[in-house]
Amino acid sequence: MPIPAPAPAPLALLSDYHPVPGGWDECLWPAGTIRDHWRDTLIGLNALGHNGIEDRWQDGERALRDNGVTYAIVGEGSDGRPWNVDRIPLVIGEDEWGFIQTGIIQRARLLEELLHDCYGPRRLLADGTLSPGSVFAHPGYLRPCLSVPPGGGHHLHLLAIDLLRTENGQWMVTNHRCQSPTGLGYALENRVVLNRAFPRVFNSSRVLRLAGFFSDLLQHLRSVAPRNRDNPRIVVLTPPPPHPSSFENAYLARYLDLPLVRGEDLTVRSDGVFLKTLDDLVPVDVILRRVDDHSADPLELDSAGKAGTAGLLHAARREQVAIVNPFGCSLAENAVWLGNAESLCQRVLGEDLTMPSAETRWAADDVDGLCKDISRYVIKRAFRVGERSPMHGGSLNPEQRARLVAEIRATPHAFVGQIHHDASTMPCWSPSGLVPRPVVMRAFAVRNGTGWSVMPGGLARVAGNEKHAFAMQRGGVAKDLWVTTAGTIPRTSLLTSARAELPVIRGSGQVTSRVGDHLYWFGRYAERAEASARLARAILVCQESENGNADVLLRALPVLRRAVANHSNRLNALVADGNCIDSVRQLLTELQRTALTARDRLSDDTWRMVNRLLTMVPDQLGDGAVTVLDDIVAGLVSIAGFAKENTVHGPAWLFLELGRRIERANHICALVPALLDSAGDDETLPELLRLADSMITYRSRYLTHLQRSAVLDLLLLDPGNPRGLRFQLDAILTALSKLPTGATTPPPRASLDRLIALFTSTEAGAITDPGALLADTTITLQGLADELGSRYLSHTAMSRQLGRTSEWST
């Protein structure tokens, strides 16, 4: 331990910061002086001052909101609550980090040996080193994996451990996370946010960069490919949303520049794994899996597994694909092994354990002892199944305690008790100044060519208002973790680590059928939301100017937006009502949902705008609604612009384009008869032109002279009006002709050709009743959309379980 430095001038930032006496504080010595490795950071933050930090933070928070960072809580829909990051990072000096680094690597080596033995010779079971129950009772001991060689020759490639520092300064491990440890993406995101908010403080604190770790991860993923080592196809396998880690997986995949796929995007053919793209099946060599192993193959593992692909395990068995981490390694998320780490390390590695585990007792060893002393323990599942929160024996009421004891006694193998330690505290931001809060952290390691790389950083968390509640689901707050150095900072970026020359690739890579589907709907929702917003704005403007057309529009509303009809306040239902599926709010929510699933296909600007739009929608329609709707329409128009100008016009874009054009065409087909019929005269022509955003074009041609046939010509027949129907039909035809042709072919264009010919030969003056023509158009487009779906998007269908067996007895 370094000697406390002489007291420097006190920092205003810390003037009201008083750690709990007797506890360990990360930043202050007991005497109140600042620990060395915190000094630069605190001086930097102090120089910004309270208000300076507030101001700079607005930037960081905007980055967070714009990137849509949420920790979706299962069961609460896909929107979740915002990821909460504290302004003050956890700072750890390089020397001390070295200790943690050694500790996690030793554990990685130990767990690898244990997994290797359990899925192989079982010597440690035979000689009594491992208790049979710690293996056989573990639901993660997947028997089918016994005949599967682990990908890349190792059972563990990526490991996380949870740590805390006790009141006497000792680091202790509280969990092993061995499947697909969450937090990698969030650690990156937190870093981006803090770096954006406090770039000067970040630089003066000499913080080690995270990029080297991710470069090692990528390098390692390449190296485990069973074939195509030079240029293997690597995918990130994510569970279907809503899932707590949906966002971070998307973020991680984007950062690593790897395709993000779900189980249904993959298919196993001839024992190899393939990615289903719009026109072809593309072989996959390596899967970075972010799904739990038991749910990853409904054929051989849990048959209810929805996140998986049938045949995946067998493909790994035939060494056609490497899966990281290999299936079956959740066995190492074993609190019994955690508790016995010291003796296991001695017996298996012949070494002393460098970083201890928190004292953890297995109920199966001494159920009476544990139950008697239950108030001293945090009760956890011995074998991590599901995300059940630990229970603090000491904070239960007698009734809860009795229930827990009964549960432990019924299935003692399933429980451990971990001695509770008060975690060390660190400064956290509050409006009134810094306050001490207990902090825990997660550290990550990945294999590299020679051993293991440890991320110089990680995910730190402080408890929210609820004691012991570090979990994000329970209101915990994230912290960036800064490992600082006195030496030089090696600079790595993912770009420099890639091989020197990349082959030139045109287009935008493979598009999975599922992403095609989502982009199609993204296009439709964006267009529909814009049309709804224009409609609402037109009604409000008419009402404000006491224009009689307001009533005409309100009467037409249920025809144009059927869902609105069931609501008493139709205008509010059209904009703000979350219970109306046609409201701007709901359409924007759907837009955000489809954007999330196709996140890696949309530009950052699009994504930011999608997130911002939803925050603009008022809870209730009120004063200033027109301005708000102006902004929403402008935002949607800019999304359309981003899509047109900032996206490669490849297959992915074509689906977005088709969705948008089909929706716009449908809207015109509904709009024209709804307004013209209900009025019976030409009073509504200005509104019709405004709703179709064609007023300027009309005026430039006809000045103020409004005539029905001229309006119909512009809206329906003119191929040059991008808001007109004919333009949409031409655009749909163009997109169809560019669709990929491989295993699938575009829908026949005959019906569309006929329609376009009909529009070409029609004269506006001859249209007395546009209804028939427009109904014909609607039906034709519907048929086309169905064809499109069944041809390109249908192999998004999930495979399903066959019935099992019949059986009876004599």
């Binding site: 028997r143 067998h314 019949s806 007895s809």
Partner: protein
């Protein structure tokens, strides 16, 4: 006795299936009381890949996939085996001591058995199941106690195919006192494991006699299930709660596992296919 088992599963789909992945446990296995002489598996249409694998419990399973549109899939397994049964044990142990011994297995046999002493996907352990088991085991030896438990199920549980489905949990079978052979095996296994004993699931067949004066119908037999209890220094002892007997020469073993989920005869996933009709024809013939 020598038997021939003919087990034919046919799937018919209302619309074409483009891809199907299957896992079958249909081959008979060697056991201390049974020697397999012939084992064939015929799949129509021709699989695009087919791999025989010895699973974690020594059973012979086959993984196969069919690519290309098909409206029908037929899996025919033919197995021949000589069944002698095993010599019954000459000793027995108090069950409490057996349970204790399985916690720290002194030898490789006990260790292997300990794998079957814990909860598994379809066989949970619980205080209710333990209570049921204790009523049957009393303070007796393990074979005596397990035999009483098997007989109790036979006596107090109604055989009723309508009472349960493939997904009815053991806790419900315990409450409603009805089910089929698979439920009875799972119930016995769960109860015995709740007391720390090792019990495993057996999937197989049973030779049946036609009603007196009639000719045996073709294809009318079925797969069957029972369980085994572990006795140290002896091995596994078969018990059939459905028929209240200790299986000897008329039970033909297909596979062992912790429960049905380890050894389900046929399991598959398909892409496409509309509605699927499944028919299963089983013949158990004595051939010597």
């Amino acid at each position: 006795m020598k038997y021939r088992i003919n087990h034919v599963t046919t799937y018919r789909y209302t619309s074409p299936v483009v891809l199907s992945h299957n896992l079958v446990h249909l081959a008979l296995r060697d056991t201390p009381g049974q020697r397999v002489t012939t084992s064939t598996l015929t799949i129509q249409p021709e699989p695009s890949s087919c791999t025989p694998i010895t699973d974690a419990f020594g059973n012979r399973q086959t993984l196969f996939a069919i690519q290309g549109a098909h409206r029908e899939l037929q899996v025919a397994a033919i197995g021949e085996a000589t069944v002698t049964g095993v010599t019954p044990p000459t000793h027995d142990h108090p069950w409490v001591e057996v349970a204790k011994r399985l916690q720290k297995p002194p030898n490789a046999y006990d260790l292997a058995a300990a794998e079957f002493a814990f909860a598994s996907p379809l066989c949970p352990i619980s205080p209710d199941l333990k209570k049921f088991a204790l009523d049957c085991l009393r303070k007796d030896d393990v074979i005596v106690g397990a035999t009483r438990l098997s007989s109790t199920i036979h006596r107090d549980w109604r055989y009723d195919p309508a009472a349960t489905t493939i997904s009815t949990p053991v806790s419900e079978v315990l409450q409603q006192r009805a089910g089929v052979c698979q439920d009875f095996a799972h119930l016995a296994i769960s109860a015995l494991r709740s007391c720390g004993l090792a019990a495993r699931y057996v999937s197989g067949y049973l030779e049946t006699d036609p009603p007196p004066g009639t000719v045996k119908l073709r294809g009318a037999d079925a797969s069957h299930a029972w369980f085994q209890i572990y006795l140290p220094d002896y091995g596994w002892y078969d018990l059939d709660p459905t028929n209240d007997c200790h299986p000897e020469a008329r039970h033909i073993t297909c596979a062992y596992g912790r429960d049905f989920s380890d050894v389900s005869p046929t399991r598959g996933l398909i892409l496409g296919g509309g509605r699927a009709d499944i028919s299963v024809m089983v013949d158990v013939d004595r051939i010597g």
